[in-house]
Symmetry: C2
Subunit: 482 residues, 2 copies
């Protein structure tokens, strides 16, 4: 854990603090929330950014909220005294989203973790923001339904909505943008609004749901989420197939998508990642670019789809496709994918890891990955690649020494080249991690003048800039004048 | 065709006209666009609202644009002189979206109808706003791909994006919100922005794409659209099944969705609609609530799905399920669905038709339809119902005498009751037609305080209120002060 002064990472600089307002709000919240309000160093550290190399910037206090009324009260106090408000789920965001560059109040949602309504016939569920993905699926188990979005971490649903998360099965089930039906949100005036009704579709006015999904807490505080659910598949089959080159593997992905094979997951691990997995778990996968696929359906459709994929893989030069519909066998086959992160870290346990992501049109995925591998090799990085290949989205985990400013600069320069490469191919600087503090300059490169529209919207909904200031489109400059 | 003074429909009242600004802009556009600028009565009438009973409100002139540069020039002139700008595709919107209550300039996109890029490997396409749905699919035919959204009318893609259109196969392929990857838009300062890159997913900042989709031309003028495409199914199968009650048919729909049968279309026609279809085309369908279903896939999966549906239908009390995978046979079976609109109009050719839509959670679809049928019967309306049942969305076509103010009032009162009913069941006042002028009061009922956020966003992106004023959330009050 490092303090504010650990290093000067681009765009992650302290903002102007409204000391007087902060002091007043701390007093008010202490009075109102008692034991549920904490200002100790360890609480503040836990609620600043902890999951990457970005320096931590601590909030001044943490409130453990239990209701939307609590949230309203905090927002009103902070609005009156112009103090930042930062929503906190589980803290698994990767681009500094929960940092507090201008200080302020962190709202911890871990006690707002109730499933409020399961509407099984409508395949939807209403949850509080602190419900985690795994908790939700555990609570749903008896209904025959599940919530498909899986970003890896056991993130909170509120955080997943706020960062427009996705993950391995977005290729089949979409991202949070596709799976949030409606939100309730506390806005800058301390009132709670509902963005939409529970109907599966609507043309009623501006799509406020999608505006808040992915807004990273900068427009308001989400207090409940209505999610679409899916029926638990009768059968799940999975398999693994090695390819001679990244290009060959990507061709198989493109053909699979183009032929409409409804693959549930299709993940691409590169050579270095496979080598890391073998070393980590004593496995003997071929150390070649490898696709991990999964099919959801009935016994018949899973068999049919795996046969279709097998033909495609062979046509693209894939080696033999190991497939199974047996759950235990499948876990064994998929082990490398599940262990990918820790296997990568184990390549150099003394180093820190920077997890970054880009997303390109799938026709350019092979080019983008191959050029990135060349860059990694040229600079001598340990940096395995794992891709959500069906979406054209991939992650690089760069291992580097976060105590060595030169190594930090090398890692940052690599990230900058990776983003420039993705943008030059019609891609985006982030498929699923969001902008936070880490990618603000790339967002400007990606969307140019459109970022001014985002600023205008931000200003219209949060004129005092109290909601998560210093994120997405501008380095922290403190709270705006009223 | 009626002029502004035909009748006083609620919320559809003339706005304040900026006569001086309009006169200046007419002169400027005449000079710049010559023959491509038209101010004749017939052009103006064609570009006002023509597809429902809402009174027409004519623009002052029409420009036939050929490029984004043309659009920029018009927006700049109109912004400088504070004159309304209204985008026009094919004029098939149903809630007065193209009316000009404060006058102004209609931008006709029929000459911006080029397919700019087909990216077959990425399953996407870039089009100008004037490309129609049918034209697009004709141009795509050789690629093996198609664009699935089908709102019935041969609407323009720009118009479909602006109203967040959907239609019969939204249950499988989603709505425009799910199928637009990116837009270019001319904003209030006359500059063109791009809302997103061509990657299939992104977490880069606010979701401007979804903000413009469904904004009905009130935030800017769309100049190009990047759409997701689907592979043309190898096989399409379809069938028809009558049910004893609406409830039984809805139960079959719920079970089909819940079991994850990937039905491509599932349409519910009520008793009156089936009677109208029989009378119109000399058919002999059972005059009972009837589901029309379609499956897309391979020979095997279509057979599998139709068998799954057949079992479900039987369990829910359906009569024998007529199914075929033969294209000609399928057209014959589906004839009633295709003819539904004209069959309904033929029930009383001397009357006008008001097409309205609501959408509820599917668990409430039966209740909502049954109560609506009772209302229709109680008031002696001719008003058949067709539902996109898989989405909980249905349409009522009320036949009434638009020359009789009492009958107009009766029809409006019916629509008000229908909307109140849908809202009371967790539904929305429009699943796919949009708000326009016709549903502004229902939007307020539906979303309350959230509409203030829409107003704030509108004001931030269009401070002078030049883009399609008098739509979505406020009756026309003329152009705002700068």
């Amino acid at each position: 854990m490092r303090g504010d002064d650990a290093m000067a990472v681009k765009d992650v600089r302290p903002g102007v603090r409204n000391e007087e307002g902060i002091a007043t709000v701390l007093g008010l919240l202490k009075q109102q929330f008692g034991e549920r309000f904490q200002t100790g160093q360890s609480f503040r550290e836990q609620h600043s950014h902890t999951t990457t190399y970005l320096p931590s910037q601590l909030p001044d206090g943490v409130v453990f909220v239990e209701s939307a009324e609590d949230v309203k009260a905090i927002v009103r106090a902070c609005a009156t005294h112009r103090v930042p408000v930062i929503a906190f789920g589980t803290g698994s965001s990767l681009e500094g989203q929960v940092n507090a560059p201008s200080g302020g109040i962190s709202i911890d949602f871990s006690r707002m973790n109730r499933v409020l309504a399961v509407n099984a016939e409508d395949l939807d569920v209403v949850v509080e923001p602190g419900v985690t993905r795994e908790q939700l699926n555990t609570e749903l188990r008896d209904t025959g339904l599940f919530f498909p979005i899986d970003p890896g971490a056991n993130a909170s649903i509120g955080g997943m909505a706020a960062t427009r998360a996705s993950g391995t099965n977005a290729v089949r089930y979409g991202t949070m943008k596709d799976n949030v039906l409606s939100l309730t949100v506390v806005t800058a005036d301390g009132e709670e609004i509902r963005t939409a009704r529970r109907a599966r579709k609507s043309s009623a006015g501006y799509d406020l749901t999608r505006l808040f999904v992915g807004s990273e807490g900068t427009l308001g505080i989400i207090t409940s989420i209505t999610l679409r659910l899916q029926g638990i598949p009768e059968k799940i089959g999975g398999g693994v197939c090695a390819f001679p080159t990244v290009k060959a593997a990507c061709d198989a992905v493109i053909m699979t998508i183009q032929m409409g094979v409804p693959v549930a997951r299709i993940e691409l691990l590169d050579q270095m990642q496979m080598r890391a997995c073998n070393a980590y778990s004593g496995l003997s996968y071929a150390e070649k670019p490898t696709l991990f696929v999964e099919f959801n359906g009935t016994e018949q459709t899973v068999a049919l789809q795996s046969e279709q994929f097998s033909v495609i893989a062979r046509e693209c030069g894939g080696e033999s496709f190991s497939f199974t519909a047996n759950a235990e066998e499948r876990s064994r086959l998929w082990k490398a994918r599940h262990d990918a992160y820790w296997a990568s870290r184990a390549l150099a346990p003394q180093l820190n890891g920077l997890s970054t992501d880009v997303c390109v049109p799938i026709s350019r995925l092979a080019d983008c990955m191959v050029e990135t591998q060349a860059d990694i090799e040229e600079h001598g990085f340990l940096a395995p690649i794992v891709g959500h290949a069906g979406d054209g989205n991939f992650h690089v985990l760069i291992l580097f020494d976060d105590k060595d400013p030169a190594d930090v600069a090398r890692a940052e320069a690599f990230v900058a080249r990776l983003n420039a490469r993705a943008l030059s191919m019609g891609g985006t600087c982030t498929g699923e991690h969001g902008i936070g503090q880490g990618k603000m300059s790339f967002l400007e490169q990606e969307l140019g003048g459109a970022v001014d529209l985002m600023r205008a919207i931000k200003k219209s909904l949060d004129p005092q800039n109290i909601f998560n200031p210093g994120k997405i489109f501008a380095p922290a400059e403190g709270i705006a004048d009223a």
